[in-house]
């Protein structure tokens, strides 16, 4: 890397964030963030439930969405080839990317070929996943985020903590401080005397970004859906920054995960009813853009689509885990999750936090990393996510399945203490006599603890487990003893 000055604010980094159990503990100490998250997730949960209950056939829609997504996943090669042919016929240049490095290089090469040194961006999870902005920065190309929350994150040298509202961990006065301090260094400064009133902050963002939209020659987007039979791309958004990026520049590059294909235009009716109500709790998001290739004299005349794998085919390869690919990134599972609400998004160590991050991250990235092995345990298995998911992802089934895989991964290398413990438990449970022997010990422990709950203890294995849990002391009488006493001289 050369030492030339950066073009865009230096972001935070996922590297160095400890594994989930440690990171969660640190996050819990952040009282301001907990307050912001409790307020925001509470608000959005209330909105979602109202909007979902307005739709009488909500459950049927969820079922249809799950079925459509499963159909696509199970025949993905067929639908991708169909989409590629339709897009190509409509004048789109279609690229394929095995991984993040492939996709980043394609975007940078297009920018260089066009001779541009800056791009405007629509909020997109996939470009967060591949860390596109930093790759472009290293190539001397400035990537400007134009979604309000992404702008807050970018100007705040921060990391996203939510799929839909990446700056959900910030409150209005923090946003004001960031805008006042940073906007002027990267373009039009925040107006003098701007207050922390959200409409004033939104106005500051409008003014700051307008000059960037008007001069932009190239935009980068993600994509919510690609319709295979027509080659239509669909992007849903709220602020109009998306329409600016999709309409004004001459070149548009859309990076889209291979799982985003839908078979037909008709399928849109299912997803466009489910997505806005599940994500922002609105009957419909303010703007939805649909475009099918190049339209002469209207919008970008040079269109590119990058179809990205980056681990998705690994997810697809596991019949019990592949339902995670149904995800339409609505974020309802984050908002309902008692774990997410308390620890926030950064603790999950990747742009995909919450329940979806816990099932998608380990599958996309594999189980080699310690955090990937920790994520399937970042859940109480309460199952609230199962109920709100608009595409009926069976979160808790997949979490349990992944926990199993993590244990298999661990024991494949060497026997673990846990394994020995389970083997011991197997011996105890196999025979009533064995159990009776062990229960002598547990009765003794019960007498020792009396009525006191058991908290953290300095014993191996159990000590770690007890760090986050309090348990009742073992009973001083076993079930068999009780039975004998109750039924002494009974019918038999």
């Amino acid at each position: 890397m050369t030492t030339t000055a950066r073009r865009t604010p230096e972001p935070g980094t996922w590297l160095g964030i400890p594994v989930f159990p440690k990171a969660a503990k640190q996050s819990l100490q952040n009282a301001e963030q907990r307050k912001n998250l409790a307020h925001a997730t509470g608000t959005i949960r209330d909105k979602r439930i109202v909007r979902a209950s307005e739709v009488p056939e909500w459950e049927e829609l969820r079922t249809a969405a799950a079925q459509i997504k499963d159909r696509v996943g199970r025949h993905l090669d067929q639908y991708l080839l169909q989409a590629e042919a339709a897009m190509t016929a409509a004048g789109v240049t279609v690229h394929w990317a095995r991984d993040a490095a492939d996709a980043n290089k394609i975007v940078a090469d297009i920018a260089k070929a066009k001779g541009v040194d800056e791009v405007v961006k629509i909020k997109s999870m996939v470009t967060q996943e591949i860390d596109l902005n930093e790759h472009l920065e290293a190539e001397g190309i400035a990537a400007w985020e134009t979604d309000l929350a992404e702008l807050i994150v970018q100007l705040g040298h921060d990391l996203p903590s939510h799929i839909l509202v990446p700056a959900i961990h910030r409150n209005r006065s923090e946003v004001r401080e960031i805008f006042v301090k940073e906007m002027g260094q990267y373009g039009r400064p925040a107006p003098d005397g701007v207050s922390d009133n959200p409409p004033e902050l939104a106005e500051a963002a409008r003014l700051h970004l307008r000059e960037k939209f008007l001069r932009a020659k190239m935009a980068v987007s993600g994509g919510n859906f690609i319709v295979a039979d027509t080659g239509t791309l669909v992007i849903v958004e709220s602020e109009g920054n998306g329409r600016m990026c999709l309409t004004l520049p001459e070149t548009l590059v859309s990076v889209v995960g291979i799982e985003k294909v839908l078979p037909t235009l008709a399928d849109l009716e299912v997803f466009l009813k489910l997505l806005p109500r599940s994500s922002t709790g609105e009957r419909m998001n303010p703007y939805t853009s649909l475009w099918t290739g190049v339209t002469p004299c209207d919008g970008p005349q040079d269109l590119h689509v990058i179809l990205l794998d980056n681990g998705r085919s690994n997810v697809l390869a596991d019949p019990e885990g592949r339902a995670a690919l149904r995800c339409i990134r609505c974020s309802a599972c984050l908002n309902i999750c008692p774990i997410y609400e308390r620890v926030g998004g950064h603790a999950y160590g990747s742009p995909y936090p919450g329940p979806i991050g816990a099932i998608l991250g380990p599958q996309l990235r594999g189980l080699e990393g310690a955090n990937e092995r920790a994520l399937p345990f970042a859940s109480s298995l309460c199952g609230a996510c199962n109920d709100v998911c608009p595409v009926k992802i069976p979160f808790t089934d997949i979490l349990v399945h992944l926990r199993h895989k993590v244990v298999e991964h661990k024991t494949a290398k060497h026997p673990t203490g846990e394994q020995a413990l389970m083997k011991g438990a197997g011996w105890v449970m196999a025979d009533g006599k064995h159990l009776a022997t062990v229960q002598k010990g547990s009765r003794l422990a019960g007498k020792m603890f009396g009525d006191k709950w058991i908290g953290p203890l300095p014993v191996p294995l159990a000590g770690r487990w007890l760090q986050a849990r309090d348990v009742e002391p073992p009973p001083t009488q076993t079930f068999r003893q009780w039975w004998k006493k109750e039924h002494e001289g009974g019918a038999k």
Binding site: R170, A202, G240, D298
Partner: protein, 216 residues
Amino acid sequence: MSAREEVLRRIRAATRDVTEKDPAVDVPVEWEYGRPLGTVDVIADFVEKVEDYKAAVRRCGDGEIAATVIEALRALDAHSVVIPAGLPDNWIDALRDAGFELHSDEPVLSHAQLNGIDAVVTTAAVGMADSGTIALDHGIGQGRRALTLLPDRHICVIREDQVVSDVPEGVVRLTPALTQRRPVTWLSGGSATSDIELSRVEGVHGPRHLSVVLVG
């Protein structure tokens, strides 16, 4: 191996367990597409839902369209107006007579020029009542996409017979335009954001004001 071949190879390896080759047979979808919602008064529902986004709705008869558009423009304090190709001549004449500064998009207006114009007046393709959504297919009277994006106020004229009960019927009506590869834009109120503390703010980058004239 090219990236394309590699990705397709991985996908085929990952779905080896799928033996039924016909997707529709392999995973049936239990959904009846394109159904109306059964709303008793579709137009009333449309008005209620559009107004819920804080967009103004003015209803008028066939003969009063130009006058109602003028009223909507004045209510938003607009003086200069973009006129997309194909807007009815009598509306244009009425606007000119009322003293508005009119801009045609022929020759093509630059983004900077469009950014400096107060408002745009267009027709529409489809209205969807249940979600309060208006779809443009950027055909005659609607202009290219930038026209309904850069000016800060959008006056959108839609006829009652263009309004359907819900999204599924709307998608059906828009299918011919999409199949002809026309761009389509759905508007549900003006631009908005909930990015700061999840509190909704109306008006960010797109037109901050959507004003609907419903003719019927």
